[in-house]
């Protein structure tokens, strides 16, 4: 089976490496900057010189790219790969995008005789390396069955959420919960500090109560340590909130709190926290009044 993987960022390089463990896979990789591909080449992947060249023989193409405009440019821009794919081949986009974009990509891929599955992942860098991701997948069942052995090389769980676009849609809902739960907790904890509780007390207690999302216990450790090395960079979360907001607009379903959260993450990004983990919203809010 000829498989191509395009986009070797923080997530993609781990995912592609795991694909190499599959016996029946012949892997070709492409990335705009060449360095990340080299380690994969040593492990047995072929490095393509362009996205178009990478897909020419592929049965299956995975993309893992930063945002919709990048996916569109790589797939359909000048030297985009879609026109070079073989008729009937299958494109699985693992990028975190917005549902209407996934549906548009599926439609345009269809015009080229291609099949399309949206397959964003739950999980960050380490689960990508450890093949512990969860794939949230939208598309026809038979295409998903074709992809399942490959998903299972890269992850622990495959959830077929619904038709084309619904994988992306569900991922968006999950990230909406993440972004806002984090921010609410940060504001709550900072009020708690101002009322005399120690940071340790707040990090030990609140995240473990049923009123708090369980992922917050891990984020509390980042806050406690002050080390915000990014598992999930704040600027990606800001971008996801922008796509969420766009979706809310398209659906005419206003999201009051998510929109305000976008403004606050945006301020944190403008203040230099974009490449920190999104838990650094706590540091931003804490520091806002310290500079004067």
């Amino acid at each position: 089976m000829n498989v191509t993987f395009i986009g070797l960022g923080i997530m993609g390089r781990g995912m592609a490496a795991n694909l190499l463990r599959h016996d029946d896979v012949t892997l070709t990789v492409f990335n705009r900057s060449p360095e990340p591909a080299e380690a994969l080449a040593e492990a047995g992947a072929r490095i393509a010189s362009s996205a178009a060249e990478a897909v020419a023989e592929a049965d299956i193409v995975f993309t893992m790219l930063a945002e919709p405009s990048v996916v569109e440019a790589v797939a359909f821009g000048e030297a985009g790969f879609v026109p070079s794919m073989r008729e009937g081949a299958l494109w699985a986009d693992c990028s975190t995008v917005n549902p209407s974009f996934s549906r548009a990509m599926a439609a345009r891929a269809g015009e080229h005789g291609l099949r399309f599955v949206d397959a964003p992942v739950a999980g960050t860098k380490k689960p990508a390396e450890d093949a512990a991701l969860t794939f949230l997948v939208g598309g026809p069942s038979e295409d998903i069955e074709t992809l399942r052995p490959l998903f299972e090389c890269m992850g622990q769980k495959v959830v077929h959420v619904g038709e084309t676009g619904q994988g992306t849609a569900f991922k968006m809902l999950v990230n909406a919960q993440l972004a806002q739960s984090m921010l609410v907790y940060a504001e709550t904890a900072l009020l708690g500090e101002s009322l005399g509780f120690s940071r340790d007390f707040l990090m030990d207690t609140l995240p473990n109560l049923p009123v708090s999302a369980p992922f917050l216990a891990g984020k509390a450790e980042l806050i406690r340590s002050g080390d915000y090395a990014a598992q999930f960079p704040l600027e990606w979360m800001h971008k996801d909130l922008q796509l969420l907001d766009l979706t809310a607009y398209e659906q005419n379903q206003p999201l009051y709190l998510a929109n305000l959260a976008k403004s606050l993450y945006g301020s944190a990004k403008a203040a230099g926290h974009g490449r920190d983990d999104f838990a650094a919203i706590h540091a931003y809010l804490a520091g806002r009044s310290d500079n004067h």
Copy 2:
């Protein structure tokens, strides 16, 4: 031990009934409207004719009242009970109020030679009846030890959070998480419905992921059933958000999302959902666009 319980609302009547199970307690009760006291009288409580009369012999006085202005009126207003308490007696206020108010009550009680503990509870009607509450307690350790056997009659757990006012402060943080997690989930789920997911799917999946606070699984059942019989009335949550906002102002620690949540719960209350469970924020948001 002479114990007095003032305030026999949804919560207070269950709590007072559980105090009667304690062998060493002689219980006196008072409520502004007399009906709730009668069942307790049958179970062995003495009904007092006024708050002042109720406390005259008391070693310990519990109050469980609706909001700060009511506590202040019952304690210090015309015919308030505080001046009638015996010197050295202990007042435990279980009402959900704000920290600066608890501290003010403690100071004013001290001027009358009284001891004061703030002891709000986590838990709603059924835990109150089943003696399954958690007491979040602020005050001197020796006073809390005096109260502990009584708290344990009414609840499962006593958490000594810190000095006077910190019980109230911690309760406020817990309710902040509750109010906002509920609202964020409601907005997220409604976007999900607009994107084509069924309500059942959203209620089954999202609350059970680590991105969601565990209490939401129970609230999801209310949303699914459409039966919002109040465990925690929305208008109480609105009031708690108002006290939270006041506290944020006093501490000069702005709470962006909590303040916006207050506006939305306020709109839901104005639209007639005040006596529903606060999970009815979902019904309010869903219905906002249905009337045209």
Copy 3:
């Protein structure tokens, strides 16, 4: 001078009619639905059968379309007009769009050897008919001088704001002020009513104080009458706030209040006020609590 006008909606039909008053103009018009063109044909315009055909002989092309995606489709989509324009011809886009979009259109027009000016207007239906618009124009001075006599046929004032995209940018700032001033006033006035002031009193006094934007006096008349026949439809304002929000994201310059305003106008639109004047945000906020 061969002039083409594409987009004969509420605004465009009045503007095109005024162009006919210019002696040196030979006018060709195109609209997706043919009806609005007919009255113009009677007045001397030639009706084209497609956008591409409409521009083939044009020296100058005006577009007045609903939103960026429509402008892009009409200009560059299948059968888009841009490839049919003569080299060196000038395209003036009067649509209300976002600055990065205007700049992208200018760049793409440039690739076809065309000149581009962004020229959105301040003013609504009646000023369009009365040739009383203000043009907010971005682009090279010589192009604007070429257009000036035509602008002056359609409006009273031409403000050359800056380079390409700055006309659109300034229009966006103006609409940001409009949308938010209207909403703030509506919320203020509704609180005033709840405090016992009559609607008449609030409409007579507040808009005429220096604390209120002068345009509010006119909107107060709509509120007073309850007749929200659209001068500026609420759904257009909602769209403009979405473009504003996109721009704030691109610039990483968070707009807290404008974003919240977008949510509220979005709720008003979802509740059926989309085609009312945007002053109907007052009716939406007033009615929110009336349906129960």
Copy 4:
């Protein structure tokens, strides 16, 4: 006529000085810190040693104090002046408070046989000195007629807005417009700068369009100069927004934008801008991202 003036802050000292110009007025003044009274003593005022002593002979008492809790303490606290007033005397409170507070003060003054008028002012330091204030007055007509000559000593205009509390209510609406118009303009102008407009251009144009409140032209001068010497301190505006929010809660009339504005002014205050003019919200928003 014996007149007493209590509260000689930025506003009060100018107002009291103007009262001295009235031939029939014998003026007594009191202020917690004695310095501001001394200049008035030189001009002919009697300095009282306490608030209670200050009012003993007064026909009319004016108060101009910082906030409700201060008014309550000075009027009804230990050594409060109300019990020392002569029966039938008239208390005019010029402080900026909230309507329910004014009504409560009126009721409690009535219990002491006193008359009460709420008479907050529109205008800042210079108009107070120049006798150019506008009085927004609530209360019985005959009381207002009694006060009118004194108001006219201190100001240019007396608007009898309605019954007791309505002066305060209208002042609150005016300040709501001020606070939010200022903030909206600051956010709009900062987006404008990010889009390439010069600060001068934005300060020259936007405030003079009908989409902007006319008072903004003056505030634009502060922004342009960077000199935020307070005409109206930001921390007072923050306090007024808190009282507005309390009123919205009491009236169950949510104010979405005003509440968010409160959070932003609160952040600006926490960042050290409390004593600057409230136009410094522009400096706060501009600087938020500059510290990294």
